[in-house]
Symmetry: C2
Subunit: 343 residues, 2 copies
């Protein structure tokens, strides 16, 4: 085995040309060219709450066309004007899948992820499906977002995110997840091809020897920048013939293998991960609304256009059509709005 010293070399790295792997810039969310004042928006939402029944269309029309900054200003103004939080107001007026989706969307994105993470960590569920959101915030988000989630987590709950992972998640998943959530990756496009080769080989050794929770594996996946890791995965495929996630799944069928596969897909192609989340949520009997909502709410203002294109690629059908077919009522209207469609 290579020594760490060798493995973690510090050669000058190469700036590679701007790739398609950027968070943001491919939103499906449609905001307005001329945005009403936050006070106007807050008042209209309040009006939608008042009277016989709630005016869901008005809520969708407003919140479904505002980005995170605009929603923040609406939240602040609503609180000042009406002496309650917008979230509390919504909680009283909306319900079901529509209610959950609107409320998740209305939260600050870091608070949203902190709450989703806390929910899964407290849920006592087994397996790794429910840990998806933690992998997504660590491996398919910017380092600033992840730190924001950790801060929100500490502010909301009486412990840090890491502490709650240590309590709720068994080894060896715990070791991988703690590594991932504590990362603060370099976020410019900087790749060292020699490091990619060395580390692809190191990952290959760990897969061969079924030692997937080795410190080296965790260090590689949780400290290297996303561009560097993509180069490592590409080198792996060139050198060893198969995509690394396939080799991992061939090496064992446990939760650790599934978790690492999820990590690798999120890093290599967040749009593929989210296309699969939507596909899995929709296809088959019934719909997994929580996953569908999370995917659309999380990515509508980041890269949903890429998720749609990847969905078409994988499922040979349109994500918009699939969501429209599989949902109904206000929930459908809201998701379609976030997807950039007309309701």
């Amino acid at each position: 085995m290579k020594s760490f010293k060798k493995l973690f070399t510090s050669k000058p790295r190469t700036h590679i040309p701007e790739s398609s792997f950027k968070f943001g810039g491919m939103a499906s969310l449609k905001t307005l060219d001329v945005v009403p004042s936050p006070a106007e928006d807050a008042q209209k939402i309040k009006n939608a709450f008042i009277g016989l029944g709630t005016d869901e269309d008005a809520i969708i029309e407003i919140l479904g066309h505002r980005d995170a900054n605009q929603r923040q200003k609406i939240r602040e103004t609503y609180r000042l004007l009406f002496n309650e939080t917008l979230i509390d107001g919504l909680n009283k007026e909306v319900s079901g899948d529509f209610g959950k989706a609107v409320i998740l969307w209305t939260y600050d994105p870091c608070e949203r992820d902190a709450r989703l993470a806390n929910e899964v960590l407290k849920s006592k569920k087994k397996g790794i499906k429910h840990l998806e959101v933690i992998v997504e915030m660590s491996c398919a988000s910017s380092p600033q977002h992840l730190v924001g989630v950790r801060k929100a987590y500490c502010d909301l709950f009486n412990s840090s995110l890491e502490e709650d992972i240590l309590v709720s998640v068994p080894m060896p998943l715990r070791k991988v997840l703690v590594g991932l959530v504590t990362s603060y990756r370099y976020d410019k496009e900087m790749v060292d091809k020699d490091v990619a080769k060395l580390e692809a080989n190191r990952l290959h050794e760990s897969i061969k020897s079924k030692d997937l929770a080795h410190d080296d594996v965790v260090y590689i996946l949780s400290t290297r920048n996303f561009y560097q890791l993509r180069a490592t995965f590409e080198h792996y495929k060139e050198k060893h013939g198969n995509p690394i996630d396939e080799d991992i799944m061939k090496s064992g069928k446990g939760d650790l293998e599934s978790l690492l596969k999820m990590v690798i897909v999120c890093i290599a192609s967040p749009e593929k991960h989210f296309a699969q989340i939507v596909g899995t949520a929709i296809i088959g009997l019934g719909t997994d609304e929580d996953s569908l909502t999370r995917a659309i709410v999380s990515r509508a203002e980041i890269d949903m256009m890429k998720v749609k294109s990847e969905y078409l690629n994988i499922y040979k059908s349109s994500l918009d059509a699939a969501v429209t077919d599989d949902t109904s009522g206000d929930y459908r209207k809201f998701l379609v709005t976030l997807l950039g469609g007309k309701i």
Copy 2:
């Protein structure tokens, strides 16, 4: 050995009364009641640079009485007014220990620590003395400061802090340091006494079995909040008779033991750590100016009054007098100013 599940319990914790363990609030730095405008300060500093020789007294008088926010505004304004950074201006005009100290003080505190960390990681020095600054930013600073340092590190250098630790620091020190620098601790006073007992015992087991780089040890020291850890160390002493850092030093004489002792002192009492840094820098033949400067520059606007009182406690003499006796010229004037004295 207790299972992790048991170890990392999630019982409701107790809010303990405000203790003396807070970062900030005990600065020695004396700022002005009426502060000149940043433009005025920037102009005066520029004047101090111009002409025959540099007017060091003016530089000390201004920068030595401005806090981090005020210095930030001066940096921004200086750059706008004179089309060069204040740091570049200082670099041309000041030198020696005085120059180093003024420049370190003038940096944004997060950038300062990022640069100090990078310097030690690139220095190829052996042992743990030079790793002090990394322990200090992780164990004697707020979580926000540590994240700020990580961000500054990524912005300044072509890698993350963790990546450079992995390259430069051998196992098992690496494992402890990566855990510490990636922490984002809960920062309110919240203590669970049962957890303190369990984890004190877990640490005791690791000391007995000389297994100090065990995952559990790293998790405890790098995820628990400072108040919780102080309770753990106190329980350790009650239950096992000796302070935990003494037991660690009895268990071995390697770098890992010394590093863990440093970690524990920084967490249990940052003022004791910094008093010892100053003491060690001054006592004996010659002075270690770099350590002396780092300690005073780092803590002047945080807790230097507590460091002074701890110094008196340990060395039975005044820190101010020791610094005055052991330094000279503009360097002395500057340090004395940061210590809150008259020059």
